[in-house]
Amino acid sequence: MVNYLIVLFAVTLVYFASAERLVIYVKLIGLQGLLLCGIALFELKEVNTANLVFIMAETLVFKAFLMPYLLTGIIGSSGVMKVHRQAMPGFYLLLFSILALLSSVILANALENPFVNTIYMVIALYSLFTGLLLIVTHRLIISHLIGFLILENAVFIFSLAMGSKMPMLINVGILLDIFVGVLILGFFGLRLRPNTNELTRLKD
């Protein structure tokens, strides 16, 4: 079952590369949160119940609902529905995404380890590359934020891979989630325009 969830997670990453509407991005982030909750439930059987409940609650509340809710609010207030027209076209991004998947498979196999399931490694690396691709190729701040959330999910999958042995690593990883919360709240608080692509006041 857990393998199906992981493969489904990979499908969402492919979809990220081809989608251009921000609302799709938000839905995919929510879906990834739900999938991570499921993966945590199946994977962390050896962790004590209280810790498992905490981790699942965090993924469900924070990743699956709170984040998409906040992002929907940002999109609603900015009125921007699609990624910036100067962003890399979806087709090329898809090609890069496939390249990233192949690289992830090769790298994960090179990094075979008795403590870690290789499929986790593949998807975590793929998620990492996809997040970085979105940050690098897109122009809008909101796209960068979504790229960062994908990258953060990659960190969570990595920590899940070790979670049964070292639950402390997941708890520390959750700190990163809280940090993202502050990031997004700061985004609201500082009233930076999410549709801006002109953060160029500071330059030489």
Binding site: A110, L111, N113, P114, F115, V116, L128, I135, I141, H144, L145, F148, L151, E152, A154, V155, F158, S159, A161, M162, K165, M166, P167, M168, L169, V172, G173, L175, L176, F179, V180, V182, L183, G186, F187, L190, L192, L199, R201, L202, D204
Partner: protein
Amino acid sequence: MSISVIILRNKTLTKFITGSFALLHILFTVYCWLNLNRTELTYFTFNSPGVLLLSVLSLLLIPTVYHGFIYASGDDTRKFNTYHSALIALITFMTGAYLANGMTVLWIFVEATTLAVAVLIYHDRTESALEATWKYVFVCSTGIALAYLGILFLGFIYGREDAATLSFASLSNIISQANPLYLKVAFVFVVIGFSTKMGLFPMHTVTIDAHSVAPPPISALISTTLMNVGFLAIFRVYVLFSSSSVLPFMNSVLILSGVLSLLIAAGYMLKAKHLKRMLAYSSLENMGLVAIAIGVGGAGYYAAFLLLVLHSLSKSSLFYQMGQLSRVLHTFQLDDCGKYMKLYPAGALVLITGMVCILAIPPSGLFITEFMIFKGLVFNGQWFVLISAIVLLCFIVYAMSTRIMHIVFSGPRKGSGPEIPDRLNPVETLSQFVFLGIVVVMCFYQPPFLVDLINQSIAILPV
């Protein structure tokens, strides 16, 4: 103390609490010196490199607090208290990062510094401050996530239930049996991630923007003690892996990162029009040299630590002086600055002395460190790195010296300068002269307690 400053809402009390905090911090550093290598509260050890960099922080604390009082004196009580609350929090987090004895604890404190610094960068509430804060938080968050991936790779190597804290001591026992590819991946992630804090290539941009808008006393901390935090995080992993077969790989990564940092610093310093950005690029240059020094190995290890200490003293002096310069000339733009020697001779002397010190021109103590690095490069036969570094440093010396000399002696390129320049008391420059004096003295004499502590910090590394 940080919370009490926010709650009390009284400027005088805030000054008293912040001053007391600075004194307590100095006493704590003395306590650390007296109890070297002792572990407290399970997660903190008063280890040599940590205590050395903690001492630098303590040394900078009084002038930073003093210049902070002056900088924020015109602010309303809320803004004044927020500034000092964030400052106390930042110093506490940096102290925690210096003394952490495990990777996860170190990471948590480094993550926490980002939040405190963000508040301080946004202090002036301008559009530029907003942009710099956003960039700082976003890039640091990405860097921190990547650094955490590096830590997770350490976890993969260990894979045991008793490794909850990933302490350096527990990891050092199993590194020699680990898969070298894991070590390489972990090290690359750690270098990229913590380079946001160290201000090193490839994530150097974040600190450059932060410097241009942060209050000068905060720039002094970001450019010195916070960069030292980033260095320490990378150095801890370097020390951990140094007994394995990946040592040459780590050295290559650091030297590459260092040379590219020098290249970027040289390129941008030649076109810098903003004084604080120019100093920020100078920090990038010095961190590049630190990375090269570690990559060189041998005497380079000693040079790296001495360079960090002396760079902290010189650069903080220059940033404190930038605060005074902006009060006299009301600008940081190079084209609008000039005749500083006439307007504020004490400040102009600090600028000239600081320039000599930071550019490693004898009798600056930094000259000794650069000499040791170049000697190491010659000894290793790394001629390409040596020639690249020397050529790039020539550009940097030219760019910085022409700009500083212009400010001190020439008239402004645009306009005629401020109509009624503010007059400042020369006593305000006292701490800057003391720090620069220490840097000069270090060229001829390095006190045994400092030499011993640096040698203890690098004792475990291969010769």
